[in-house]
């Protein structure tokens, strides 16, 4: 009896260890967005300094599209940028940009230097629209369907791998439905 009792700590640890191991396969930062399957919030943003046309939520509706939150001060956006450029060059999908909390002039300078993958860009200088979207950090990307609903959210940079593995098949499905 005493023997069995001494096994209790080990048994407890095995259970906790199993949960920890399983937990490693999950990404806690990938919080489910409250917006999933809900219509994209209404907004109408002016153009960033140095560009003429802004971005409103109506521009995005009627097609499968990406809405990408970016800023020149965001390190991961630099990592993501080449992937977005490649998508735009191949005309894979319209990408709309939300330039988040950017100082006037910084955004256009960044795009002039590295290229512009965006169909249209809105200037969200005070972060108001980002709050409506529930943005947790940049970069963040929303997949919008033909009905103008948010179908998926990517927190963090999109890589080529992620595009081929996750986003491309999903967008294919959305286009067909």
């Amino acid at each position: 009896m005493k023997r069995l009792f001494l096994l209790v700590p080990l048994a407890l640890f095995v259970v906790v260890g199993a949960f920890l191991a399983n937990g490693l396969t999950r990404d806690p930062s990938n919080m489910p967005s409250q917006l999933i399957d809900r219509p994209l919030p209404e907004f109408d943003l002016s153009a960033i300094e140095g560009m003429e046309v802004g971005l409103s939520s109506d521009d995005i509706k009627g097609q499968v599209a990406l809405l990408n939150v970016f800023a020149s001060w965001c390190v991961s956006c630099h990592i993501e940028h080449p992937t977005l450029m490649a998508l735009a060059a191949r005309n894979e999908i319209p990408i709309y940009g939300l330039n988040w909390k950017e100082k006037p002039g910084d955004g256009i300078a960044w795009l002039n230097r590295l290229g512009n993958p965006y169909t249209l860009i809105g200037d969200d200088q005070n972060g108001r629209v980002a709050i409506d979207l529930g943005v947790t950090g940049a970069p963040e990307t929303f997949v919008i369907d033909k009905q103008g609903r948010v179908r998926f959210r990517v927190a963090g940079p999109i890589t080529d791998q992620y595009w081929t593995d996750v986003l491309a098949p999903m967008i294919e499905d959305l286009r067909r439905s």
Binding site: L6, L10, G17, L20, R26, M31
Partner: protein, 663 residues
């Protein structure tokens, strides 16, 4: 000194630690230890420490000189950073902090090898051998998954900056203390496993292990306090403890360590509770490892989390499984052999310590459950939830209250069998103080009367209990003053330490009760010239100005506060670090006696004013002073060793520290 020197030194330390573990454990397992092997094994501890130190200094040198050809420096430093933060940046990142972890680990092993000559040979060899296995595992972790010495070509012109939140004196110094605590528990862990392998946990063993447990616990106390203090003035939310997973990760080993330092006393004095003490030593270090795992694996998110990488998580989990699983397996197989000789009476010091252990471990379990519940739910159902402060406040505070009540009484009980009526007489002053303060709170408090009265009564009970313990033992007022002074001098450090720590805990509890029950908070949208009221102070936002720091831009708000003719000004900042695109805040804090007027402000996004949060935090100074006194008690108790059981040595010659060599 190029970074390669550090890299090679670490590889060499790795190789020597492997040889050391083979030499020491091989001898112990075969029961046929060649003295040449074991003396190499003991000296190797010092060599491994020396090499790790070279490695660490070489990394620090790279940070000091802003050598951006080292990836780690490029990613975590910047030439515009103040020099002192360049140096502290050495451990402000995952790789460097792991190197500091290992440095402290090898330091403890080195001290153990140098100091432990008086210990029984076999015990020392086994303990050092297990210690070297831990060192091997962690150096492997650094070399294979988190190498801080990797180079980058071509060399970038400047770095990408330290996490600006870490650019703060409070944060620069609290990790080393936390690590001293976490890593310090590795020594009791090794002692515990060695005791299980030998099948012998006696009073000698307890006396050797006790200072290690005490010093680890004391450093952990300081580390947690510094971390909490940092969070209080830097994070700007007006609180000092958020039950964040990483805070909990440091608090759980502290609770287990608290139980450990209490039960070790029972082993030392009464030769009982051995299985418990061994299990607690294993638990304290296991929880330290779990804490490390939590911060680095990304299993649970937190503001504190370093770069998250599942590969590292897998490695740390493997270390965790090997260390904890291994230790608990040995425990299951061998704990039977630890037979107590002391008998137990329910009303006695050791009886109280058993209850203390049960309570503290229950508290630890509630924290554990609260911390891991979201993970359990995620794994079982895929649902994302979070457990917040309400759960902890509801469950933890009740258990903590009962523990405080017992701590006040426990030290007044005698060992073996306490005389019940004498004990009750000794408890009278504390009980009186509790009733009087409780009634006072009931009368004067403006809200939370009942909870406050119970809380403050507990504080008085514990504080007066700690004082009367000393008063009784030195026969204060019952013997001539000179006699009392002589007795005070003769009183062992362990008794002084316990009384100090309990008294510190009471002060700390007073701070915690004050801020959680009687804090006042106002939120207002203010522009320059606006006035807001909090706790009788009328606070005016006098000016907001922009200024530039060495590597940040800031907005500084100056407030002036007025209450009953007394007038003063205070200012806080919101800093923006362009290199990382991050913002931090420095709350405006002005101490008013033992309380704080605390103001933090946000961004003027609407153009109509700054959102300002004003807090009046009563008694908050008690938190820091209480924790400091608690830690001081730990140091005092730590300083008491060796001379303590003189009585025991005379009575029981077998317990002499010098044993016949096994070789």
């Amino acid at each position: 000194m190029t970074p390669e020197i550090g890299h090679f030194a670490l590889i060499l330390a790795f190789a020597i630690a492997i040889a050391q573990s083979l030499a020491l454990l091989g001898g112990a397992v075969t029961g046929n230890a060649d003295e040449r092997f074991t003396s190499f094994g003991r000296r190797a501890s010092l060599i491994v420490f020396g090499l790790t130190l070279v490695s660490f200094l070489s990394l620090m040198n790279a940070f000091g000189h802003s050598d951006f050809s080292v990836i780690n420096v490029y990613e975590n430093s910047h030439s515009a950073k103040p020099f002192i933060y360049k140096l502290t940046g050495t451990w402000g990142n995952h790789e460097g902090s792991m190197l500091l972890w290992v440095l402290i680990l090898t330091l403890f092993s080195g001290v153990l090898a140098a100091q432990g000559r008086a210990a029984p040979r076999e015990l020392l060899n086994l303990t050092l051998g297990i210690q070297s296995l831990i060192i091997v595992a962690f150096i492997a972790f650094i070399l294979f998954t988190s190498n801080p010495f990797e180079r980058l070509f071509p060399t970038p012109t400047d770095g990408t900056g330290l996490n600006p939140l870490l650019q703060d004196p409070g944060l620069a110094i609290h990790p080393p203390f936390l690590y001293l605590g976490y890593v310090g528990f590795s020594v009791p862990f090794s002692f515990a496993v060695a005791a299980l392998i030998r099948g012998k946990a006696d009073t000698v063993w307890a006396r050797l292990m006790r200072p290690w447990a005490l010093i680890a616990w004391t450093f952990l106390t300081i580390g947690i306090m510094l971390g909490s203090w940092w969070a209080y003035y830097e994070l700007g939310w007006g609180g000092w403890w958020a039950w964040d997973p990483v805070e909990n990760a440091s608090f759980m080993p502290w609770l287990a360590g608290t139980a450990l330092i209490h039960s070790i006393r029972v082993v030392e004095r009464r030769d009982a509770m051995k299985g418990w003490a061994v299990l607690l030593a294993i638990t304290a270090f296991s929880l330290s490892l779990v804490g490390t795992f939590l911060v680095r694996s990304g299993v649970i998110t937190s503001v504190h989390a370093f770069a998250v990488d599942p590969a590292r998580g897998v490695f740390i989990l493997a270390i965790l499984v090997a260390a904890v699983g291994g230790a608990l397996t040995v425990f299951a197989a061998r704990a039977n052999s630890l037979t107590p000789t002391g008998a137990f009476a329910p009303v006695s010091r050791e009886g109280a310590l058993v209850v203390n252990n049960a309570l503290v471990l229950t508290a630890c379990t509630t924290v554990f459950v609260g911390t891991f519940y979201p993970l359990f739910i995620d794994v079982l159902s895929g649902e994302k939830i979070s457990v917040g402060a309400p759960y902890f406040n509801l469950v933890f505070t009740k258990i903590a209250g009962i523990t405080l009540a017992l701590a006040g009484a426990g030290t007044l009980l005698a060992w073996k069998r306490a005389n019940l009526s004498a004990t009750i007489r000794r408890l009278a002053p504390a009980a009186l103080a509790a009733v009087v303060t409780g009634v006072i709170v009931l009368v004067i408090a403006d809200r939370e009367r009942v909870t406050g009265a119970i809380g403050i009564a507990l504080v008085a009970w514990l504080a007066v209990g700690a004082i009367s313990e000393i008063a009784f033992r030195i026969k204060l007022f019952r013997a001539p003053v000179s006699d009392s002074v002589k007795r005070a001098k003769g009183l062992p450090g362990a008794a002084w330490g316990a009384a100090l720590s309990h008294f510190g805990l009471a002060i700390f509890a007073l701070g915690a009760i004050g801020i959680s029950l009687w804090k006042t908070e106002t939120v207002a949208l203010m522009t320059e010239g606006d006035v807001a009221e909090v706790a009788g102070y009328s606070v005016t936002l006098t000016s907001v100005e922009r200024l530039r720091g060495p590597n940040y831009e800031a907005e500084r708000a100056t407030f002036s506060a007025q209450k009953k003719g007394e007038k003063f000004s205070l200012s806080g900042e919101r800093r923006y670090y362009p290199i990382r695109g991050m913002e931090t805040s420095e709350a405006a804090i002005r101490a008013q006696g033992l309380s704080d007027l605390y103001i933090s402000f946000g961004e003027n996004t609407s153009g109509r004013g700054w959102p300002v949060r004003l807090f009046f935090n009563p008694f908050v100074a008690f938190l820091w002073w209480g924790a400091a006194v608690t830690a001081l008690g730990g140091f005092v108790a730590f300083a008491d060793r060796g001379r303590k059981p003189a009585k025991l040595r005379k009575k029981n010659p077998a317990a002499k520290p010098i044993e016949v060599a096994t070789a």
